[in-house]
Amino acid sequence: MSVREGSVTGLIGPNGSGKTTLFNVISGFYPPDSGEVYFMGNKITGLNPNEIYNLGVIRTFQNPRLFPRLTVLENLLVAAGSRGERVTSSIAKRNWVDGEAKLVKKAYEIAKSVGLEGVERNIASDVSGAHMKLIETARSLMNSPKVLLVDEPAAGISYSAAKNLFNYLLKLKEDYGITLFIIEHRIDILMDYVDYVYVLHLGKLLSQGTPEEVLSDKKVREAYIGD
């Protein structure tokens, strides 16, 4: 299966169908049992997560892995990767102050736009679960990704919030030409946004196509009614 550049691709399937596992494999989290992963023509199988991240393939976690004792803002900034993160340059402030200032501004903007306004200064472990999800997503946007693997961004947040989260993601796609690859349980929302869908079932590719095709596919229906 492949994800076209600049597309919004959805990945759906009943629980335990291996959606997240697929993400784990792509993002270098697990080595694949078989097969290869290619990114823009070159093989990225078996690279370390950090290397894959720095290639621009960025994933979010289904249940957020934040840095609990850091503030929300710092959580975002860690993802950004400023110049001051090298020991040598971190000592002299002037090396990184300006870049840092920019990043902070950016962080504030992103936080605002994903709907994290006002909590930036809280300690990450103190914010609500819905906010944590948003932080997880926001964090993945900090480092101007090429491909975004979003794992259930709308889980546990209100319908409207989910709506404008997706709107924002789409806007990003338009602005920066990010390719989106989204796992989502709430198909009702998802289908309005994606232009191509893969359906996994028990680790196998069950069906694929445009939303309409997939929804009309009865194998998919069975699968969903099945569980």
Binding site: F29, P31, N48
Partner: protein, 321 residues
């Protein structure tokens, strides 16, 4: 066996048994309470001294090993439980992190150590006996001839020690208390929900592990001697035994105890006779063994973070390059 002397084997078994007895309670208490208990050494010392002093002061009564063992078991339990109630429990209620608990245990270790010092300095003045280097005055009524070595103290340690280990296994795997302990160890929250009272389990755990530690101290005193420092100079070996067992499995901990004892005795003998390695390298070998075990085969729970565990080989090659 020409190379390895019989005494070496007996020592290995004896010391290994004692190491295991010292390490098991440490493992149990860590599993259940998540406290890496430095005060463990003090518990061992307390046990040893209770038995020694009693057997010296009331020889009529406490030259009987079983009595002495029982008393020091409860002495150890009391100290452990007090320590838990006064320090660990309060810290846990304040949601202190494990490392804080560890440092707190360091503090109570220092306190208890010098408390013991003070007590024995007073007592030894009173009874006009040297307690800084003391051997218990037990009378051994039976003896058994093991591999042609007949040493009543060894016989007693072997029989009693093994039965204690069995007893521990029984408690841990056959009783409801054991089940509760394991439940709490695996998942405190879940245990809480399923109606197992965290606190009572912990108290019982301290009772058990404190008692076992104390008893192991008595065994040491039977094997060698009691001094205010002996437990401190053993603690690293004991920790090593636990770590080889991944501080999680009792049977593995016992295995670790014997591994360390083997390294200190059998391996030492071999290297000494073949390479002529100095005897003063004995502690060296136990740590070397530990390092090798940890690095070559990280014990359960000791393995590194997820990415490393999954990609060990390639990572190493990267590292060396």
């Amino acid at each position: 066996m020409g190379l390895i002397d019989l005494n070496v084997i007996v020592n290995t078994i004896w010391i290994g048994l004692i190491y295991s007895l010292m390490a098991i309670p440490l493992t149990i208490s860590y599993k259940v309470t998540r406290v890496l208990n430095f005060a463990h050494t003090s518990l061992i010392t307390v046990g040893a001294y209770v038995a020694v002093i009693l057997s010296l002061v009331y020889p009529s009564l406490f030259s009987n090993i079983f009595l002495a063992l029982v008393v020091s078991f409860f002495a150890g339990s009391v100290v452990a439980i007090l320590n838990h109630k006064l320090v660990y429990r309060r810290l846990m209620d304040k949601e202190a992190s494990p490392v804080i608990l560890m440092i707190a245990s360091l503090g109570s270790w220092i306190f208890l150590k010098y408390l013991i010092y003070s007590i024995i300095s007073v007592v030894s003045k009173a009874i006009k006996k040297d307690l800084y280097f003391a051997v218990p005055n037990f009378n051994y009524t039976f003896n058994l001839n093991f591999l042609g070595v007949s040493n009543p103290a060894f016989a007693y340690s072997l029989v009693l020690g093994l039965s204690l280990v069995a007893f521990t296994f029984l408690i841990f795997y056959k009783t409801s208390f054991g089940k509760a302990m394991r439940a709490v160890a695996d998942n405190p929250q879940l245990a809480q929900i399923s109606g197992i009272s965290d606190e009572s389990v912990m108290t019982l755990t301290w009772l058990l592990s404190g008692g076992l530690a104390a008893v192991s101290g008595v065994f040491w005193a039977m094997f060698s001697y009691a001094s205010p420092e002996f437990a401190d100079s053993l603690v690293l070996q004991v920790f090593a035994a636990c770590v080889i067992g991944g501080i999680s499995s009792i049977s593995l901990t016992i295995f670790g105890g014997f591994i360390i004892a083997g390294a200190e005795n059998i391996l030492m003998t071999i290297l000494y006779t073949l390479v002529g390695l100095d005897l003063s390298f004995r502690p060296f070998l136990s740590f070397l063994t530990l390092l090798i075990v940890i690095l070559v085969r990280p014990p359960a729970g000791a393995a590194g973070g997820l990415p490393y565990r999954l990609k060990l080989r390639r990572r190493e090659s990267k590292w060396t390059s």
